[in-house]
Symmetry: C2
Subunit: 296 residues, 2 copies
């Protein structure tokens, strides 16, 4: 269809590319690959690790790109730091999913944190991360870290009220197994475990192409008893549309200027100014979210 | 390389997709196409208009996607409104390039504007926009608008000192013909034409994958005598990395809180808050820009 650069088109060998279609919007994203490092059927999903030409190693689950070594820092920092920095004393943190351990590492940058539990369903994801993404797992031996391989929903249901100040939901897209991590029944359990002052952070898809999913997540959070909900947006070049979001929810205000310790954190994307700026949603996004809130 | 979803892979017919490789980072972006509407060799470039399945019509120049009907508003609003809103009285505006007329339309939303000149090298681009993107050209008949088809560099060189309050450079990437729009000789002429209080806005590529290009643009602007330079970033889902930037430059401060008229503007992305937020650069971007400023 694109007539130009026939030389490139002739050279193009789809078998040498990781290709991820986003069928609902007729878009395609690809990364040139050098080598397949791991190709494993775990009890839960299809796990692949590829070496790309310019984005380092990438992790793929069921055909969807989860992270690249080049740009994952944006996602991990923006899912973790706004939540922790909005808390006065984030001592006990729970991560649901996040088997690549990237969120865990960011959480452990906070000196105030005393205990982090990461509850990942698929142990093979973490084992692959330890082997192929050692930088993400560099904090796994921190005595404050506890790795649990179990169903996050069961874990939260069994946790005591007020057991955590922060819960981070680092899940795959809301389809299949992960869909249950996006509904009000689960969020209601999170609300109970966080008490009135804790904060929940959930990856909430693309503000561009999943706006109705984002609105749905916010609606479920409100229905679960979180009176305060705030969405932050940030670029994520290797996710569909290159643009992603995280949503915070709490019994108390969550969209305040960041609190205790944004300054000394070692980050590449996050800063106090970036946190504040990420809360300023484009007009078409905030209008869509207001409208859906009004109707729900 | 990606073993999963063999069904999709078997279905995938590259000839039905617009595919744009970004060879320097080994990435690929694609949009599923329905029909080629125009395929023309103009005196200056290869111009194609395609109907896509979910992004509306798209314009492609020399194989690079210039705009889609679905997401161009972000780019056009963020290249135009921060510059005009930073001016107390943006009466006379010059657009260099911008043949699709998307910037022109945004400029004409400002009631204070009395005269806009759009200087596009390739008249065929504007004729194609009139035919296939009528919504972008809806303001072309505004009596304040003047369309000139000529070389922007010659136009600026011939313009009087202080002739414009705002210059917007809506160019293609800094290669080929367009490279001359990114150097200090041209910027120096812009500086003269803007006087001490005018503002220049230039599209300045991706903060992620063209960070050295962005740093170079800022360096050339400084070398051309603009003491104040500020970069804004925003998502642009169909450009490489899905993340883009615009850089403002002026003899006076350009990064202040927006001025006269951000409120009543009819926009989908831009707002006063979004303007302010777009100036908050992620840590790795601001550090890279500071370092290059220090060394140049």
């Amino acid at each position: 269809m694109k007539a130009l650069d026939p030389a490139w088109r002739a050279r193009f060998d789809p078998s040498q590319w990781f290709l991820e279609p986003c069928e609902e919007v007729g878009a395609l994203f690809g990364l040139e690959c050098v080598e397949m490092l791991l190709d494993e059927r775990t009890p839960w999903q299809h796990l692949q690790i590829l070496e790309t030409r310019h984005f380092g190693r990438v992790m793929v689950l069921d055909g969807f790109l989860m992270l690249t070594q080049r740009d994952h820092f944006i996602y991990h920092e923006m899912l973790v730091h706004p939540a922790l920095c909005s808390q006065r004393a984030p001592r006990r943190v729970l991560i649901i999913g996040g088997g690549d351990c990237g969120c865990l590492r960011e959480v452990l940058r906070h000196d105030l944190v005393e205990h982090v539990v990461q509850v990942e369903l698929d142990e093979r994801v973490t084992r692959a991360a330890e082997r192929f993404f050692p930088e993400l797992c560099e904090a796994n031996d921190d005595p404050r870290a506890e790795l649990v391989f179990a169903d996050g929903i069961g874990f939260v249901a069994a946790a005591a009220a007020g057991a955590f100040e922060v819960i981070i939901i680092d899940s795959t897209d809301p389809i299949g197994q992960a869909a249950r991590l996006f509904d009000r029944a689960f969020y209601r359990q999170c609300r109970r475990v966080l008490g009135d002052t804790g904060v929940l952070a959930v990856q909430s898809e693309s503000p561009m192409i999943h706006l109705e999913v984002l609105a749905g997540i916010r609606g479920e959070l409100a229905a679960a008893g979180f009176p305060h909900v705030a969405t932050l947006q940030f670029p994520q070049p290797t996710y569909p549309s290159g643009w992603w979001s995280a949503t915070l929810a709490g019994g108390s205000a969550v969209a305040a200027v960041p609190g205790h310790a944004a300054g000394p954190l070692e980050t590449r994307y996050y800063s106090r100014q970036v946190h504040q700026a990420a809360l300023a949603l484009p007009r078409f996004v905030s209008e869509a979210l207001e409208n859906s809130a009004g109707s729900g």
